[in-house]
Amino acid sequence: MTKPLDVDRKMPIVKKAVSNPYPLKESAIVKWSLITISLLYISLFLILPLISIFVTALEKGWETYVASIVHPDALAAIKLTITVALIVVPLNAVFGIAAAWLITKFTFRGKNLLVTLIDLPFAVSPVIAGLIFILLFGAQGLFGDWLFEHDIKIVFALPGIILATLFVTFPFVARELIPLMQTQGITEEEASISLGASGWKTFFYVTLPNIKWGLLYGLILCNARAIGEFGAVSVVSGHIRGETNTMPLHIEILYNEYQFTAAFAVASIMSILAILTIIIKHIASWKAKEF
């Protein structure tokens, strides 16, 4: 909107400043075209697919929908997914808090290495993460013979699925907490200790309340990923129907068998979980900011 240098002295120079007092205000055309582009994009790639999931799921009526969800295999998949999440999320919460605490409140040798290693699961493809566990605990794996002798099943069983999910989701809580705890510093903890509080009391009365919203946010992300993880789990699960199939694996099998309605019905359950997660996440991040 800049004009070439105006030689006409009669032109009121201040006029532009008066009519447009905000330096970042865009013209109406730019504003509306940006809004339209983003709305179109979101509708096309996010909202439309989401709606289509529910439409396809309910295509053959409510009864078919309910039947495909209460099918024993589907129920087993839902149960397994929830079990995995219930085990993985608390474990990663403990690990995440411990790692963030260690990294932000202490100085020690190898700290940068630890920070880098925490990010490793983000960098490694989930499939490779799954393969690692096959190579370690599979029949031909490093501990394979020993596990066989002691009759311990890890791969193609619940422990393997949990291990793979743990690996994939372990950065979420730590990554969320480290920057938060870094900005908060350690003076409140020092104050607490100088007032005679023990380490545990300091943690429960001072540190934990200060990070609770950030922690919740990390847990939600961790939970969402634990429920939705496909690649790593697919490698270690063995796809035993009704036993080692999680929800995403179950959906894939149904889909490959051309049972579209059933596949989309289970997918709709996952989508509802995802939408709920987003809502809770939004509230948590809003609370965290307010705090």
């Binding site: 003076t187 409140e188 020092e190 100088s194 007032l195 005679g196 509080a197 009365y205």
Partner: protein, 356 residues
């Protein structure tokens, strides 16, 4: 509680921040740790609190070695520079914290905690603020909460890290006076860190002047101000004018200028004389050799004092004089005029003094 610091040294990596520090602090004293940033004063305070370890030396509280005792058992109250209030607790909960976290055996009853906290809140004049959160308080109010919180545990020693550093000048002065009063009432041994010489001179019973991890001087405000042991202390405690010269037969000489320095009888080629701005006299006529000619370059009058900046005619160095407004009026001097400057009191240091 009396505190003895014996030969304490501390390094951070390769940087030595404290070098063989030894101080005796008597019970009930109010001590200022004064020094520029990086002088090690805050580190020393944190070592006393147990928040920082030490490399060498011992610390005794009332004769008892507490060098390896954890901070939570030292019975200290620590007031942090930026208050470090618990942000998720209100004022009442902040002050009550130290009592609430005591082990069950020594924890006072709920009623008793409430009574104690209310007592402290009225002491710091924040009775009506107990439901507020730290973010809803002003800087001065937060500082008072921090003090009340530290006092709640009935510490034997109160340690304050730049307690007034982040406050504006007026609040600062008020809190300073208030701290002094508080100390007169409670007589708890208190040590505060500051880089503000005025604050140290104003409040403390004794001042420990630190520089570069070492103690330059320990003494009452009067002692360190009037009898600074080193050029650093002289310089740090206020504005100075410098007169360089040659020391000979008890006189400091430079060109025509010659002034008595009776404390030094041996000769030195490059001695330095220090004089405070308020120890500078301005004369219109030259009566003897103890004055230097200088041209007035700036006159600034604030309240009862006139601050005059002068440029020496002989070597071009700048001098600063402060005189009462009355006296200034009687002199009838103006900017640009050449006058004669007489240092009333000159403290002479020889090069060895600088290498301390």
């Amino acid at each position: 509680m009396g505190i003895q610091i014996k030969n304490v040294s501390k390094s951070f990596g390769s940087v030595k921040v404290l070098k063989d520090i030894s101080v005796d602090i008597k019970s009930g004293e109010l001590i200022a740790l004064l020094g520029p940033s990086g002088s090690g004063k805050t580190t020393l305070l944190r070592i006393l609190a147990g928040l920082e370890g030490l490399d060498e030396g011992t610390i005794l509280f009332d004769g008892e070695d507490i060098t390896n005792v954890s901070p939570k058992e030292r019975k200290i109250g620590f007031v942090f520079q930026h208050y470090a209030l618990f942000r998720h607790m209100n004022v009442f909960e902040n002050v009550a914290y130290g009592l609430k976290v005591r082990p069950r055996k020594t924890r006072p009853s709920k009623k008793e905690i409430e009574r104690k906290v209310n007592e402290l809140l009225s002491l710091v004049k924040l009775e009506n603020f107990q439901d507020r959160y730290p973010s809803q308080l002003s800087g001065g109010q937060r500082q008072r909460v921090a003090l009340a919180r530290a006092l709640a545990v009935e510490p034997k020693v109160l340690l304050l890290d730049e307690p007034f550093g982040a406050l504006d000048a007026k609040v600062r002065k008020e809190l300073r006076r208030w701290l002094r009063q508080l100390h007169n009432e409670f007589h708890v041994t208190s040590i505060f860190v500051t880089h503000d010489q005025e604050e140290a001179l104003d409040v403390a019973d004794r001042i420990i002047v630190m520089n570069n991890g070492k103690i330059e001087q320990i003494g009452t405000p009067d002692e360190v101000y009037e009898n600074p042991k080193s050029p650093f202390v002289y310089d740090f405690l206020g504005n100075v004018n410098i007169f360089r010269g040659r020391l000979q037969n008890g006189k400091l000489k430079q060109g025509q200028f010659e002034i008595n320095a009776p404390h030094y009888l041996d000769s030195h080629d490059d001695a330095v004389g220090y004089a405070r701005p308020h120890d500078i006299l301005i004369e219109k006529e030259q009566v003897d050799n103890e004055t230097v000619p200088a041209k007035i370059s700036f006159i600034h009058i604030v309240g009862p004092t006139a601050r005059i900046e002068l440029k020496r005619e002989d070597n071009g160095e700048y001098l600063e004089a402060e005189l009462p407004k009355e006296q200034f009026k009687n002199l009838q001097i103006q900017k640009g005029e050449v006058v004669y400057v007489r240092p009333k009191q000159l403290k002479v240091f020889i090069p060895e003094d600088f290498s301390i």
